[in-house]
Symmetry: C2
Subunit: 330 residues, 2 copies
Amino acid sequence: MTGQHGTPILAVDIGGTKILTALFSADGKMLAKDVCPTLADEGVKPVIERLCSAINDILKQNNLKASQLGGIGIACAGGIDSGRGVVVTPSPNMAGWADIPLADIIRERFKVSAFIINDASAAALGEHRSGAGMGVNNLVLFTLGTGIGGGIIANGELYLGAVGAAAEIGHMTIDDDGPECGCGNTGCLEMLASGRAVERDAVKRLNQGGKSSLSEMAGGKAENITAEMVGEAAQNGDTLALDILNRAAYYLGIGMVNIVNIFSPEMIVLGGGMAELGDLFIGPGKKMVVERAFPVSSRAVRIVTAQLGNEAGVYGAAAFARDRSKRRTA
Amino acid sequence: MTGQHGTPILAVDIGGTKILTALFSADGKMLAKDVCPTLADEGVKPVIERLCSAINDILKQNNLKASQLGGIGIACAGGIDSGRGVVVTPSPNMAGWADIPLADIIRERFKVSAFIINDASAAALGEHRSGAGMGVNNLVLFTLGTGIGGGIIANGELYLGAVGAAAEIGHMTIDDDGPECGCGNTGCLEMLASGRAVERDAVKRLNQGGKSSLSEMAGGKAENITAEMVGEAAQNGDTLALDILNRAAYYLGIGMVNIVNIFSPEMIVLGGGMAELGDLFIGPGKKMVVERAFPVSSRAVRIVTAQLGNEAGVYGAAAFARDRSKRRTA
């Protein structure tokens, strides 16, 4: 494989529920992939052991040794210091991941250079190199899932800010009087437009006696409602579900207007489960960008959905490891 | 002068009240400067004539011909398309400046390459090359004046976005239920934390019967109150003025937290008249960044005041013209 494709890169995306591993050729083509559960609840050490097993497995399946790799790229949720290779602050789904020197751990275990990048920044880099944003100089990716993350490409390059934690666009205040967020801030976009916000609103509305097909979908237990259910009910014309989704879509629109005014990117890429609802969720925001953002900037931006799905993170982690390895050997 | 300092650059900053002209050496040192009134109310053509006279004057004063220049850099308020060299949308103080191909006009008049850049982006570039942000890779400048503008340096380079209109940080919604802004958006930072917002609040509070030394300062006419007066009264301990300023400072804090979470810059540079109030206006926001922003990012950012005062724009315009001329001849 090495001879055929140049030095391969191994990439990992550690999510709250799944660890995705993949091998990439030197020119960024995916050669193989595999997936295993994260089981994040078991704590940091068992997850790291599972991560190492997953790396060994995909190497073995492809007749490779770690020493044949050009590097290992790791996409991970949370506050990442890419320079030091440390998970500094945990994401909500990865309790205990505070000050974990993950790049060093992997480097020592496999004797190969390892690099770590925030998962949403990785997704932005992945979409830029291999997905919706190829050839685009300036783009902002929104990951619209349970939470809201982001990634930035500026002047054709990944933008990570001071240490690697830039693009927490889910945590910009858009309603200073809004609900307190777990991050310590108030009225964050994530509190108002994420899957979790939609679920919270649905539970509240049903508990207040709202009539909706959601009650039946959730087996009569409001707390079982998921954002997917709200999306499905809305697609079927359920008034209450449509109402909840429209409210979240309005806040997403405000977030997009802010990003267009601040970044004036050529492209906004919308990824994550909520983006799959399409114009039902994204449409109002597109309209708001035209109506509210600076005309110079709103005329220049295209708002599109992501192309790489849940593989964007490994594509980006591989590109990141490739870029950083080159920089070191240059 | 040409022999001694290499090819000089001429820079202009067209503001709502003043046109600042300056000559710079090839290595970015200011050699001479001059100032004349804009008289923006007279309309676009007279202002362009005054701009051309100002350019001729500073050339003559320094025994230079336009043909000896390496380029002319023009900082201008409004929505700028730097690629086409056009003022696309006017700033509130420059009525009529819509779709003005200013770079072409200056290029044709003086037969020398000309480049145009938004004034706040120019100020950011100026502070980065010659002021508070020297050696800093990622910084965001806030211009805190009558309005609020911004400029971005990302990965060591000026960031202008798709066409040149990025960094309208004064027009991010921080209160979706807030007052409508002239820009078409709602609850913009500029509507809540600018000099104009402070003035509007002061007039409202006095008209509601509030007691304050501001009444006397404004000669009994609330509508004469300026943000400077509110700052002065607050510095002298006037309770109502302090209250107004604290409210604006709180909103500025929200804006800074958003920028820290979105950009995670090494530095925030605060310029403009309101920044001169120092910690009275900036202090609360610094504290909010520590309390509310992501720790990885808040630990990495320094919040400082600008160093180049109202010359930041010409410093930046000169650097911009120098960079773009090099790119063309490269």
